[in-house]
């Protein structure tokens, strides 16, 4: 009979070694493939060696453990290994998924090994419960990584370096022919993005276009003065600037 094989995926070498030595003591017949140092390597090694069991760290660079598990699509017995992803542990705790917490407890690993020894004898089964949990977790991790997609930093060449300007420091942005002038708390710079692009990328709750060639940070506005002919002027705090609001953008300030 072909020996049972397993793959360990973890980005921390000492922890890979430790799991190896635990498994060598608890399950000497288990054959371990080369270790994977990240999610990408885990997938490549899986395709190469087709192990029966995969030990997956959740927090890995590139693809995380949850993403790898979804890509493996139930072609191996999965065991997640995690230091403290409490939202994941919560989801795992509902059953359907085997998991270990770091530092690994030998007694707990022994239980897992026993369960794995029973399961590898059986054919792999599709599990809707497992798929559902993985989908849910993948969605949550995605959300944690990118809650919103609004522009948060503006890249601008200042002198001979590229500054990353946090958008909350930006006072206003003004079209300058093909470029856009960024005026922020500490200076001014020209960037290549157009006002139109910026208007789409900036959070509309914080930035408002007031003129064909102008976007203003609302938190910098101290006063709105109505002008003649359906226009207005914005006075900015901490400075002398007065910026125009043209007729077609005045509706943003109707309620103020």
């Amino acid at each position: 009979m072909k020996p049972v094989t397993a793959l360990i995926a973890d980005d921390e070498p000492l922890l890979r070694e430790r799991l190896r030595s635990h498994l060598a003591a608890l399950w000497p017949e288990l054959a371990l493939t080369d270790d994977a140092r990240n999610g990408q390597e885990a997938l490549e090694l899986f395709e190469q060696c087709r192990p029966d069991i995969v030990f997956l760290d959740i927090h890995m660079p590139g693809l995380n453990g949850i993403e790898v598990a979804r890509a493996l699509a139930r072609r191996a017995q999965l065991v997640f290994v995690t230091a403290y992803e409490h939202y994941a542990v919560e989801a795992f705790g509902q059953g359907a998924i085997d998991y270990l917490v770091k530092p690994i407890d030998a007694g707990r690993l022994a239980d897992t090994v026993q369960r794995l020894q029973r399961q590898v004898a059986l054919p792999l089964q599709a599990s809707h419960a497992l798929d559902a949990v993985l989908d849910q977790l993948a969605g949550r991790m995605q959300q944690r990584a990118q809650p919103r997609q609004w522009l948060q930093w503006i890249r601008a060449s200042v002198g001979n370096s590229v500054r990353l300007i946090p958008v909350e420091q930006v006072r206003y942005l003004r079209a300058e022919e093909k470029y856009t002038q960024v005026v922020w708390e500490e200076g001014e710079a020209l960037i290549r993005k157009t006002i139109r692009e910026l208007a789409e990328q900036l959070d509309p709750e914080r930035f408002v276009q007031t003129h064909r060639s102008l976007i203003v940070n609302l938190s910098c506005v101290s006063m709105v003065v109505r002008g003649v002919n359906e226009t207005a002027e914005l006075h900015l705090r901490d400075g002398d600037e007065v910026l125009p609001v043209s007729r077609s953008y005045l509706h943003h300030f109707r309620q103020m």
């Binding site: 980005d11 922890l15 070694e17 230091a83 409490h86 770091k102 530092p103 930093w153 370096s161 990353l164």
Partner: protein, 356 residues
Amino acid sequence: MPPTTSRPRTADTAWPTRQQALKVAVFTLLLSWPLHRLSGTPYHAVFGRIGFIGMALLLAYAAAGRFKPHWLGIAAARLMAVVLTAPIAALATVLATQGANFITYLGERQALLGQVMMVFLSIFFGVLFALAAMRKERKQRERADRLQTQLEKDALERELLDARLRLLQKQIEPHFLFNTLANVEALVASGSDNAGPVLRHLIAYLRAAMPRLGDADATLATELQLVRTYLQLMHLRMPDRMQFSVSDVAAAETLRFPAMALLTLVENAVRHGIDPSMDGGSIEVGGRRDPVSGRITLWVSDTGVGMSETAQPGTGLANLRTRLQGCYGAGTRLDLHEATPRGVRVELHFDPGVKP
């Protein structure tokens, strides 16, 4: 059209205040009495002229503040308006009382003298009142400015307090703690000589990172030591993916430095730069003191994945900026630069002499 114009410095209204009108009315009523006695003209006739001139000067004073030409200062415009209005208003009173006879009237020596005196008095009292009014306005403005400054100062202090509170609430990240402990456990299990030193690093880090109220004893030297300890622990966990160097800064032992300020930047570099990168990278921490100005520049530079334009800045950086400005004054800067070929370089510029 140029979207920016500088704010014109003019008065908000073209009309005098009710208080100013009342003052002028009372004064002209009083002034009319000695003039009535001196000239023998009936009181109501004297007051009619004096009162009219007084109100005309007041209106000119107020309007000049609002509609002044841009090349003239507000004080000069108001004084000029008063001086120019006085003879015109005086002449107008003559026109009103004498009608077409005014030329014959002014031909009389006595009447002309009275007229000249009237103009002189108008200018004298007009300028006097204008100066007093402007002095009062300046005082009011200064008071408003003081109030504004006080408000801003209060706001800054509140922000600083907030920043301190948030620092207190900052906890050791459980993910970091358990992962590091798992590494220590692995070292102990394998009988590695490294186990002891690593455990000591972890203890030093935990002690420094424990929440505490005052950071009065924290210096740049202790901060650099904390950063080294943290980076050593991370290097242990990712020896193949993370290299680092921390250089000494001259006179760091005597420089007060807000605890965990540099550590926050280094943690960010690991978390957002190195950790998400499959190939990893290196982190360099350093500093220099400008020999002329005494200003200090500290930097944390990494060769990690760099920052996406939509990466959440979190509260950490804004919080840190507030704390540093609270410690070293408003001239303190915290800049982020894109490193070449990749990664992020964060620079901290401050003058340690502001509040030693």
